[in-house]
């Protein structure tokens, strides 16, 4: 009964093409922003911020990046973690080597560096599709991690390849406390998510989706395949790059190339499959789900079964649940949690009446 659009008339095309055309959605969205932007950093403890909320936000950003490439433009990629690595190490080197480099500028430059590398590894997409392209991006995954280990310049000749992120300082304020880092991450991720949403709802996004759904028709209608695909690779890698830099600077602090391995790429792929392929909101839902699920299982499984099953079982159980969920979503709801949410809303509009 509460979720009705009755009486809300759209008199202009601008009103009709808003991100949230229904008033209740808009209110819900701003409430959510208030809760996560203001209430959460004030009320939660360090563990929640550091171990759950910050990584969820950062992985959401990476998932948005992959979603732009895979969900919207239809180009399957297994190299997201590598592009994150490029972003993390680029930000490190920009701040290290250029005196007085502002953090936000370093973040943008890190994204641009990742975008350039993304375009390079996106070139094969002009000739190959689907699984073959996935294998080509797999090459990016292995090559980039290898290159970061092989050439010690990238990690400032650190013997182990591990680098420690410098302090994050913006306009003289240094972000030290988890609350401050969380708010910074939150603002950056929200802003970039908004930009992504704007892109996918305008001509750029339509070009991506056209190429995804039917590339010959897209060409005939006037889209240039090469430009469209490479733009998707560039924007996607930019997002992954910024996510990687945030991963290093506001999340774990010390990074090594091996941290950005294929496992992480798969994890991001799982996020968009479970959250929703071709949905910005799905990227957030998927990231939250993938980060929270192991924590949930860690706490719940021993509580139910006690120690009888042994410690090894819990971690194996996680893998089983993960695998099971991926298969479940691929078969039952390929558009993921975002689609389930949409269906729930459609039902809610009619509830409690049957039609």
């Amino acid at each position: 009964m509460l979720y009705r659009e009755a009486g809300q008339f759209k008199a202009t095309y601008a009103e009709d093409s808003q991100i949230f055309p229904i008033r209740q959605d808009k209110i819900g969205f701003w409430l959510l922003m208030l809760v996560f932007g203001v209430a959460v950093p004030l009320l939660t403890n360090e563990y929640w911020l550091k171990a759950i909320l910050i990584p969820v936000l950062i992985f959401s950003l990476a998932a948005i990046g992959l979603n732009i490439l895979t969900g919207y433009a239809g180009q399957l990629s297994l190299g997201s973690a590598a592009f994150m690595a490029v972003g993390a190490f680029a930000a490190y080197n920009f701040i290290l080597r250029i005196e007085g480099m502002p953090f936000l500028l370093a973040l943008v430059l890190a994204g641009l560096t990742a975008a350039a590398v993304g375009i390079l590894f996106g070139l094969p997409s002009l000739r190959i599709k689907g699984f073959y392209l996935a294998v080509a991006t797999l090459a990016a995954q292995f090559f980039i991690v290898w290159a970061l280990v092989k050439f010690p310049w990238f990690s400032n000749n650190s013997s182990s390849g591990v680098v420690t992120a410098q302090d994050v300082t913006i306009l003289g304020y240094t972000f030290v406390s988890p609350e401050a880092k969380y708010v910074l991450t939150f603002l950056i991720v929200s802003f970039m998510a908004l930009l992504a949403k704007n892109m996918v709802r305008s001509s750029t996004g339509r070009a991506w989706m056209a190429v995804r759904d039917m590339d010959v028709a897209a060409q005939v209608i006037g889209f240039r395949l090469m430009r469209t695909k490479l733009l998707a690779f560039a924007v996607s890698s930019f997002y992954c790059g910024v996510a990687g830099a945030l991963y290093a600077y506001t999340y774990i602090g010390t990074v090594e190339p091996e941290g950005f391995n294929l496992d992480l790429s798969f994890k991001i792929l799982f996020m968009i499959i479970i959250g929703g392929v071709g949905s910005i909101m799905g990227s957030f839902l998927g990231a939250a789900f993938i980060v929270l699920l192991p924590i949930f299982l860690d706490n719940v499984v021993p509580a139910i079964f006690g120690d009888a099953l042994g410690a090894g079982f819990v971690s194996n159980f996680q893998l089983i649940v993960f695998g099971g969920l991926i298969i479940f979503f691929l078969i039952v709801e390929p558009h993921g949690l975002a689609r389930l949410w949409q269906i729930a809303k459609e039902k809610l509009r009619l509830w409690p009446f049957p039609h």
């Binding site: 930009l195 704007n198 001509s203 056209a210 060409q219």
Partner: protein, 260 residues
């Protein structure tokens, strides 16, 4: 009829197209005049769709020349053909399945949109203004084809006849000079066919769009075409006004066979 048939706008001369050893088109010449409805007919596998693909640059013929608006056309990619004002629909519906009707039709206007992706990302300002300006044009097309009620529906959920209509809308949104229609009425019932005929005639009449049509329904073809070209096994066997073609013995032979 109010419209006046103009000069030759597309002139195809001695077109031959091969796929490996298979000759899809052999030495075909015909022209299309401005504002006319030009039909291409022929039995299955005659090379009709290949002909359209040659006109809008999906295929590149090995021999022959194409003159477009009087100028010799060099090898042209599909998006360049689109920039020249050639739009088309496909035999098997080629809509963007994951998008709504509105978004599908909006893609038809992409060549007229000038904002870049950074402006799109910032949205408020130039991109929004442009989006709304083109939305108004798209709404005109939506109204013209009477599909207002489904504009927010994902195209995958629509019945076949409506999908065909949305595809026509997408092509029309580009405001083309030449519209290539590949079997726009295939698989439709009589009523849907009548609607589609009406839309094609209206487009031709109202916007003066030149139409090149492939269709199997001879009743439709003979009724609405100004001139008809007949292909069989990749060769041209007839060309002229409907009456002429109908009585051409070669055409009758290709369609009905001959008694031996």
């Amino acid at each position: 009829m109010a419209r006046q048939i103009g000069d030759v706008i597309v002139d195809l001369q001695n077109i031959s197209l091969r796929f490996g050893g298979v000759k899809a088109l052999t030495d075909i010449s015909f022209n299309v005049k401005e504002h006319e409805i030009r039909s291409i007919i022929g039995p299955n596998g005659a090379g009709k769709s290949s002909m359209l693909n040659v006109i809008n640059g999906v295929y590149h013929p090995q021999e022959g020349q194409i003159f477009f608006k009087g100028a010799l056309r060099k090898k042209m990619e599909p998006h360049e053909a689109a920039e020249q004002g050639i739009a088309r629909t496909f035999q098997n519906i080629a809509l963007f399945k994951g998008m709504t009707v509105l978004d599908n039709i909006m893609t038809g206007r992409n060549l007229k949109m000038k904002c870049n992706f950074l402006q799109h990302a910032l949205y408020w300002g130039a991109a929004q203004k442009e989006e709304i300006a083109h939305r108004i044009k798209v709404e005109e097309v939506i109204e013209f084809l009477e599909i207002q009620d489904i504009r927010k529906t994902p195209v995958g959920r629509l019945p076949y006849g409506l999908q065909k209509r949305v595809e026509l809308a997408r092509a029309l949104a580009a405001e083309p000079h030449i519209l290539l229609l590949d079997e726009p009425m295939a698989g439709m019932n009589v009523e849907e066919k009548q609607d589609m005929c009406r839309f094609i005639l209206d487009v031709n009449d109202h916007y003066g769009t030149t139409i090149v049509l492939i269709e199997h329904d001879m009743g439709v073809v003979m009724d609405i075409s100004d001139r008809v070209v007949v292909l069989d096994y990749g060769k041209k066997i007839g060309d002229g006004v409907p009456e002429e073609v109908k009585n051409n013995p070669e055409v009758i032979k290709a369609y009905l066979g001959t008694s031996h």
